[in-house]
Symmetry: C2
Subunit: 417 residues, 2 copies
């Protein structure tokens, strides 16, 4: 069987280790018996639609090796979601046209729930139209909200970064609380799932270290009850550290703060929950409060990546190529947990349709009965994922994050759109 | 001459390396020919006033060695400022009483402008009252606003942390800006001086890396001009990263955001400038914007300390003991720059009265002509201070930050206040 070409593309919110997946996929493709060249979509699926395919032959081996420690999306990511096979029929056809023009028969799509929807649909569309294409998903999301897979690459690193940030912020307040700040509030990302907020709970290895109160999207926010919880901690320790997930909602399902905007996927753009909590503590409890919102710094904080996470991200990229070699399509690589102590894991796969548009929120067994902290079960789950420090190399005081050249293949088709 | 006892205490906002100064001071005191025991004030000068002196004999050698990589104030810090010799006469007398009760003749005070005011006044008060006391200041402030000394321990690490955060946040936005966020805003600490905000400028080693616009307290904020600057960058690159110092003011001297609170020193408690800038960009330019406020995480971010900063912090602690051995009092250890390329430094000292209540803001030669970025002169100044990565040890996925026992010496005096 003659070798065919492949395309790899990144999608959705980036992570500290998405480029490690790119590295795993690209390196495996280069030695694959079924893949000839591998190209990368510039800015995700947009680059495929616009026939902007990055020719990796323009990149130096050093730059490609640096993918293992580059944060954010080295090839560009996107928030574009192809909606349905009928409404976006022209887009799906265009993708096949571009692939046909460059003899592409393998497509590796590195993303989350929405991207796996594209994997499933593109797989179906190609089959319906008799185009021989294998579409494989590579999991990626800091939110850790993908079903089936035990965890998602990107989560371990954001969990480590936020846990360390909470530990350090809490120690700061502890050392000054006698005549300064009494409440420190850390707002985390995570959208509708509390995985990231919960992960900061790992920092409280004794009851003096924060977080003392964690606000999760899975637990309806009750103002009076929350303020009492904070007061109890302040009366015991003199200070209280609070983690609040950006997706925290009240009993009526209203977000603590709805900033009003929506992203390109139509999701409400969250943010501001930390400020709301700070204002509450200040106004109702009359306590001095400080707050941190780490925002993009948490999801691109490659300077503090989890070694386990970086390794799994790379392995998922390699696994996608293995799945392609086995003739699979419409599937996503998954991480399976084979043991907790010591932590053991292996790779598997599942139909992308099992992932598409589904959100795995924090199960009840990981949430302490009062709703304000994690259980030992969550610790057993999460602790293995933040193990190991994989630091990037530094040059002149700052991480060495070289930019790829991103030279494009010559276009063969007329301009689209 | 018989050896006498010493007290070390921490004051003001903590840093990632203040405990490295404590380590340097304590270790030098232990081998000093003039110092017998060294105790530590619990929670800064409060511990002296309340006769809560930490007996280091209760600490294990491992825990004391860990001071080199512990963030925040291991002995507790405070925001208490002794106002003047007349108004706070009782406090100054109490300090001498406590020192006399424990045969303390050396006092090492680790802090910033306000603390050096205490050093100067306590030195004078002891002299006026015939109490043989040597009072030595050890510099410490993330704000880098102490005069005379070339830089202050704590600044190099916060500069490194913020530069890396800006680099990573900017790369995140860059990789997704085509259909997502166009403007990323990072709010930094620094009070009335722009040193920290300026330090993020080190991250823009080429014009695609942020920050593209830096808002400094030293440059009056002009809304229309700022928005034009952002628009210019967005039209060139498609995105724009902005650093805003919490102390940024308009032409009338009003802070971008005055949160209304005041700290115990009577200073306006700043915060919220980042949100104001975000709102401006969103409302006036209709661009999608994200923002990070690193708050305490930046000043206690020991996981990413500058090795040069940690070394200088420790050296200043040792120098304070050397100054005591030389018979000095009412002075502060300083860092002198002996060369830029290669960077060379040595230690000196100055009268604490030269430091007290003075703020060294960013000089004009470090600010680009348009007011929105740094000059090569600032790069030459700042780059040496962020060199080297001195990581803390990790245990089970998180930094190993042991807590000291803080066992107190038995009190000898009646309770005070």
């Amino acid at each position: 069987m003659p070798k065919k070409n492949a395309v790899y593309a990144q999608s959705g919110g980036v992570t500290a280790v998405i480029n490690a997946s790119a590295y795993g996929c690209i390196e495996a493709a280069r030695i694959s018996a079924v893949i000839d060249d591998i190209y990368c979509g510039a800015d995700g699926i947009n680059g495929v639609l616009e026939e902007r395919l990055i020719d990796l032959r323009g990149e130096s081996p050093e730059h490609l090796a640096a993918l293992r420690h580059l944060p954010a999306g080295a090839f560009g990511s996107c928030r574009r979601k192809l909606k349905d096979l009928k409404g976006d029929r022209a887009h799906f056809q265009r993708i096949l046209d571009v692939f046909a023009a460059h003899d592409v028969r393998y497509f590796f799509y590195n993303g989350g729930n929405d991207s796996m929807d594209t994997v499933a649909k593109l797989h179906q569309f190609a089959g319906d139209h008799g185009y021989d294409l294998q579409v494989i998903g590579i999991p990626k999301t800091i939110d850790n909200d993908l079903p089936v897979t035990d965890n998602s690459p990107g989560f371990g690193s954001v969990a480590k970064y936020n846990s360390v940030s909470m530990l350090e912020g809490s120690r700061d307040m502890e050392s000054m609380h006698r005549d300064s700040t009494k409440v420190f509030v850390l707002e985390t990302m995570g959208r509708h799932a509390g995985w990231i907020a919960a992960s900061t709970g790992l920092a409280s290895r004794d009851d003096r270290d924060g977080p003392h109160v964690i606000l999760l999207p899975e637990v309806p926010f009750d103002k009076a009850d929350f303020l009492q919880a904070v007061e109890r901690v302040v009366s015991r320790h003199g200070y209280c550290a609070v983690t609040v997930s950006e997706g925290t909602k009240d009993r009526e399902g209203r977000f603590l703060s709805e900033s009003g905007g929506k992203d390109a996927f139509g999701h409400v753009q969250l943010g501001g929950a930390g400020q709301v909590v700070q204002d509450l503590v200040k106004q109702e409890l009359k306590l001095k409060v400080h707050g941190a919102v780490l925002d993009y710094c948490q999801r691109s904080g490659r300077h503090l990546a989890s070694a386990v996470d970086a390794e799994q991200a790379q392995a998922c990229g390699r696994k996608a190529v293995a799945l392609a070699e086995e003739g699979m399509s419409g599937v996503m690589a998954t991480i399976q947990r084979d043991g907790d102590d010591p932590y053991r894991w292996s790779l598997g796969h599942t139909d992308a349709s099992n992932i598409a548009n589904k959100e795995k929120t924090l199960p009840a067994e990981y949430i302490r009965e009062d709703g304000y902290h994690i259980t030992d079960g969550f610790r057993r789950y999460c602790l293995p994922l933040i193990q190991g420090e994989e630091y990037p190399p530094y040059h002149d005081g700052l991480p060495h994050y070289p930019r790829l050249k991103r030279e494009l293949l010559p276009a063969k088709l007329p301009t689209y759109e």
